[in-house]
């Protein structure tokens, strides 16, 4: 996911090279879209957020400081954009709409799609800080150090949030006997 050639492409964009821009979009649209979907829990919102992230990235490409990794920068913009969207959404929706719907089907009907939906629901039940760390670790495959760079948090905080989040997820999933992680 993290290309060595990012710096070359970014410099190309700064010179107005639209092919370089196209390659950066091509490299990063999928990871940004997936992270956005897991944070926002909605495909349309994830597509809108991804679009906004790239427009912001290229609008400010001249300000990008090359001593930082490009992927850290784009992920930071993506996480901030998604969290801002969530804040806006929560002002418009009632709390009831955010609650995880209870599992109602019989155990034998639980297929992999439903399992993934329940895992996503469990993710959405976490606080934003916890969910963001879990997504960067498990969806975006970032290391502790990379998450620390993206979120601008000490590595120690990243670890403690990640561990707490996993325990909370374990508990959330344990409440569904058919998908108990144990």
């Amino acid at each position: 996911m993290y290309k060595d050639g990012d710096a070359v492409l970014v410099n190309g964009c700064k010179r107005g090279d639209r092919r370089a821009m196209s390659q950066l979009v091509s490299h990063y649209q999928q990871p940004v879209f997936n992270a956005a979907y897991r944070i926002l829990g909605n495909l349309d919102d994830a597509a809108d957020a991804t679009q906004t992230v790239f427009l912001k990235v290229f609008e400010h490409i001249s300000d990008y400081d090359e001593k930082f990794k490009f992927f850290s920068w784009i992920y930071r913009i993506a996480v901030n954009e998604c969290l801002n969207q969530l804040k806006k959404r929560r002002t418009q929706e009632s709390l009831d709409d955010d609650e995880v719907s209870p599992w109602q089907g019989p155990a034998e009907e639980l297929d992999s799609k439903q399992l993934r939906e329940r895992v996503q629901d469990a993710l959405m039940s976490l606080g934003d800080d916890y969910r963001t760390v879990v997504i960067l670790k498990h969806i975006s495959a970032c290391s502790y150090q990379q998450i620390s760079e993206i979120l601008q948090l000490p590595e120690k905080t990243v670890k403690s949030r990640l561990y707490s989040a996993r325990q909370l997820l374990k508990k959330a999933l344990e409440n569904e006997p058919t998908i108990s992680p144990g």
Binding site: R18, M21, V25, N34, Q51, Q120, Y144, K171
Partner: protein
């Protein structure tokens, strides 16, 4: 739930915090060989720790196995059409020159007069009944109707244009049954944009534009014609009249000095 509240909920686990940290670091593969040896020894001697390890690894596995989703097919093209790189701006002229123009007394006076004319038309049209395609067949000239300004509604599709003769950006937005077509053009020569909505289940419902001497909006035979020169911004309002789930793309023809320079489409199939 706050971080502190959630933290407190996890504190009931009867395992030393350092051991828990080692367990998690081991799951993430971010642990030294010495620490791994330490946690292996602890796991060998504690059944409850082995259970916890198993459960945490299973949770991590569920997360790792979430599928990677493909972004919508339109996304990359839509992003690329809207992105303006720093050098694009330089190519389109120096904004300071525009600032000097706008700063001149005669231009300010001219703009004030033009704004007055636009306002007069706008007030007149606000009081009239809604315009449908049928009402305006073969109509030509300029019309101004009350249309929401600015970027309103959800962005559906866009086309960025960068040709030798002109450049511009067309965006299609949607709110409920109303589509807003935002057309920004910049050309030295007079040009025309033909918007084909025939058979799309859409009705023309008004337009606004920044007024120039040769600029006009006309509707005929299911097509909307936007005549422009210089820098111009049209907002065309379209109202959906059909319940079709799949609407054909809106066709756009860009004509400069009677020559077709570019064709494009705006897709609204997401609805």
């Amino acid at each position: 739930m706050t971080v502190m509240q959630e933290q407190n909920q996890t504190e009931s686990t009867p395992v030393d915090q350092r051991i828990l940290d080692l367990l998690n670091a081991s799951i993430d593969g971010e642990i030294s060989a010495a620490e791994q040896g330490e946690i292996d020894a602890l796991l060998a001697s504690s059944e409850s720790l082995r259970d916890l390890d198993k459960q945490l690894r299973a949770t991590a596995k569920l997360l790792d196995e979430l599928p990677v989703l493909e972004p919508p097919l339109y996304l990359q093209g839509s992003i690329e059409r809207q992105v303006r790189l720093p050098a694009d701006g330089a190519k389109r002229g120096n904004p300071r020159v525009l600032g000097q123009w706008l700063g001149s007394q005669w231009l300010r006076t001219g703009l004030a007069l033009a704004a007055g004319v636009v306002l007069t038309f706008g007030v007149y049209e606000m009081g009239s009944r809604p315009i449908s395609t049928g009402d305006v067949e073969n109509l030509s000239g300029t019309m101004v109707k009350k249309v929401p300004t600015g970027q309103q509604g959800k962005l559906i599709d866009s086309v960025q244009l960068d040709t030798a003769q002109f450049d511009g950006l067309v965006e299609l937005r949607n709110t409920d049954d109303v589509f807003s077509l935002d057309v920004r053009l910049n050309s030295e020569d007079p040009m025309e944009v033909v918007v084909n909505i025939s058979g799309r289940g859409l009705d023309f419902d008004g337009a606004t534009h920044t007024r120039g001497p040769d600029d006009a909006v006309a509707v005929r035979d299911g097509t909307i014609h936007l005549a422009s020169s210089g820098e111009n911004h049209f907002t065309v309002k379209l109202r959906r009249t059909s319940d079709l789930q799949q609407i054909e793309p809106i066709g756009l023809d860009f004509i400069v000095k009677d020559q077709l320079v570019r064709k494009a489409e705006l897709t609204i199939s997401r609805f």
